[in-house]
Symmetry: C3
Subunit: 346 residues, 3 copies
């Protein structure tokens, strides 16, 4: 999506907008438009570095920086004490990846190719890992909502830390699994790397610059959330679960769709499910750990988020067990996403 580059113009615009105190809505829109291409640049720089570092460390870098944009946005939301926005954006990323990205990939790919097959063994490893991750994450939440309502905010903070540690360990073990003990399962993908376009030095500088710029824009974005939602009567929750994930993942999403349209459905699905997995096992625990710097954030999702998460993961597993996709399946996923979004809206 080369044309996204032109959106980099929104970086200077956002600086000016901030200086002249534009309305929060405008600030939100402009900083969003600046983040989209920056996330793409960051992804590209990471990929370039991975050429120099060899496939193993490269894979690790890709896996770690893949959701860096989201992590940065969530960090500023955390700092601003917008816990509901943070949690909603975690749930929203998973939902968006599975329903919207996978749906759009299957629909657009399916319009071009009648039936798109993918290697369901590779997808099944990720989708079953996702199932376990969501189950682990949901259990305390389900208990909280069914019985222990009054204890919600107190006892559950240290349980959240415990679960975050467990998730993080599973994440590390998962990397160990895919890059060490069972790396041959994923072999073909990691080798067809092509060639580096940038020098290592350039890549590192670009990565650092993009990170700084994203941090700057995220701060503008997050600080505009509260006044904006008040001004136009939107819930912060809707911003967290629908808008922020779309902004943070736009670059990545376009890659998945492009892959699907090249009939590489394996890669498209792996991006969508792999990214969800990373959000749950890496981004969410890191945010819990970071929250200890400010005010401990429990990782207990509300019922809305839980239902949406569980539904998404069930669908991901259903889709993965199939081994093929078509345009109708894509439409159905998008329809479920739209219904969820509307339900959150009202």
């Amino acid at each position: 999506m080369k044309f996204l580059r032109y959106f980099l113009i929104f970086i200077p615009i956002s600086i000016i907008a901030e200086l002249i105190h534009l309305s929060p809505i405008m600030l939100f829109v402009i900083s969003s438009l600046a983040i989209v291409p920056l996330a793409g640049v960051m992804g590209e720089a990471t990929e370039e570095i991975s050429f120099y570092s060899g496939p193993r460390i490269g894979g690790f870098l890709n896996a770690t920086f893949g959701n860096a944009t989201e992590l940065i946005i969530a960090f500023f939301a955390l700092k601003a004490g917008l816990f509901d926005v943070v949690k909603a954006s975690i749930a929203g990323s998973v939902i968006g990846n599975i329903l919207l990205v996978l749906g759009a990939s299957m629909f657009l790919g399916g319009c071009k190719y009648k039936i798109q097959k993918f290697n369901k063994n590779v997808v099944e490893t990720s989708s079953s890992m996702l199932l376990f991750a969501i189950i682990g994450l949901s259990i305390p939440a389900i208990f909280t909502h069914t019985i222990k309502n009054d204890l919600l905010t107190q006892k559950y903070e240290w349980l959240s830390v415990g679960i975050a540690i467990a998730m993080f360990i599973i994440y590390i073990l998962g990397l160990f699994f895919s890059f060490y003990t069972h790396k041959d399962l994923y072999g073909s993908e990691h080798t067809e790397d092509g060639e580096a376009k940038w020098s290592l030095k350039k890549s590192v500088i670009v990565l650092i610059l993009a990170t700084v710029a994203i941090a700057f824009e995220s701060e503008i974005l997050v600080s505009s959330v509260e006044p904006m939602t008040e001004a136009i009567g939107l819930s912060e929750f809707f911003v967290g679960i629908i808008l922020i994930p779309i902004i943070g993942n736009a670059a990545e999403h376009s890659t998945a769709i492009i892959m699907a349209m090249k009939n590489k459905m394996d890669v498209a699905i792996e991006i969508a499910i792999g990214s969800s997995l990373q959000i749950i096992l890496f981004v969410a625990p890191i945010l819990v750990f970071l929250s200890l710097l400010f005010k401990p954030m429990s990782i207990v999702f509300n019922e809305f988020e839980l239902v949406a998460l569980i539904v998404s993961v069930l669908i991901a597993n259903r889709v993965a067990s199939d081994g093929e996709s078509n345009w109708l399946e894509g439409i159905q996923l998008i329809a479920v996403y739209i219904i969820i979004a509307i339900s959150f809206l009202i």
Copy 2:
């Protein structure tokens, strides 16, 4: 099930019963017994017409008129303001199709054939479509029951219309998928059509007469529900979820069981799952649209219905992913149906 024809005698009996003001229980029983063979006649007439219209329009006709009986009964219940009965009968049709009809097919077929195999690819398309449909339909209901309890009847009416439109679009796209872009997937089934027994004129006349007669009997049936439930202490809810679906689908159900006993398990499963799909994506939206003529009906199911629906669909997906069936699986499905029915009864 030729002998069902003799039940047509209940049409004149019901007229007399109505005239001499028999008790509501008798009216309910008699009109039910009249509807069963009429639904069969309607199905036959539709099939005859499809010989003349060619496979594509024929498939469309079958898909549309397959649940006409249910639609007519529900229409009169809607007109009488019995919203709970309408919604219960929608849920009950899905549950009955999947647990009772599929269970009976698998049990009776399995008693004759040790293991019955079916093409799981064809079944998987329908069962995964059913999963998405139920998920889409359940989301607002789950949200309603977990948080927004107080808003139940107000804001949700227009959301219901929105979801009904989405469902209906998916239904149309599904027809487009199966009769146009991917018709070869279903090819074998649609071609083995045999020959027309009736002339086109006769078929059309029979179809119209059957529709009128069903409408007449449905009005008697629905008007007897309230006094009957009061008289014998049964809940209207039980009538809606268990009795009406059995009455409305009896003819169709017997076809599925006959197919299973001929070892055509594919057809039996396709009837059960396809009919459920049609209820959710076609009958339910039509009823929401029709309700706008009287008093808007929200499509929010209660927890009972939700649990039963989700359970049924999970089972349908489990069964479909298997590719074979035996008598024990049939018994288990029937057992789950009986447990649900008893739970609704008390």
Copy 3:
């Protein structure tokens, strides 16, 4: 696990401990340590008897006595009126079998063998039966918790008896299925029986002695639960759902793990899922029937147990549909178990 034999020394120790009125905690620990090897001896004796009785009755014996230890412990808990402990131990056995035993089997087996394959057809029959069983069992509980809260303890006792009868019938039909109409599906396993080591007379005497000793130790164990939980501030519920199942199933569990480490993953999974099935379809109904001797026990699980049960069964079905396992899957199952255990603890 030959060394478990030495634990038999805890039988005389427990008698002395009871006589000198040791603290409840010590009594709980000592009687637990005595039950572990006794359960192993009982299993061995049952297996020996099955050599003499032929494969069909032998299979039936194994299926019936496989969870005898649990049944005996639960019986004494029932007699003591500890209904919550009984129900928790039923749920805990299923959870422990699927998450802990299967997890440990997959992890330890997976450390030795990169990928362990198993015949998914055999496993699917059990896992889908487990799905139906749990669904049947959960329906009244779900209804109870969502709407009919006030009726909880009254009307639901006779419904529980009804469901217990249904479960028991399915159990008998399941035996009929696996040892009569479809015995060839399971053929290979039941024939590789080896040779009897003990005489029939010795086997029967050992079985009777082990049963008596387990009954004796169970009475000590159960009578120490209440004072122990009070003394150390643990909930009875935690004892029921985590500790008792581990004690009752330790011998069986070690067999599953040993099988996994011999790369016989089919057998390991069949033990874990088969044992869960037996708990739900055989042990639970028997306990409901036995409760009629004292005070009727309803079989309605609380939300904690329901969530844990449903999660476990979904995971079992996911794992079974895969056909292979690795160490990472094992770790994930264990992690879910630990998260559940911690959530119950706080």
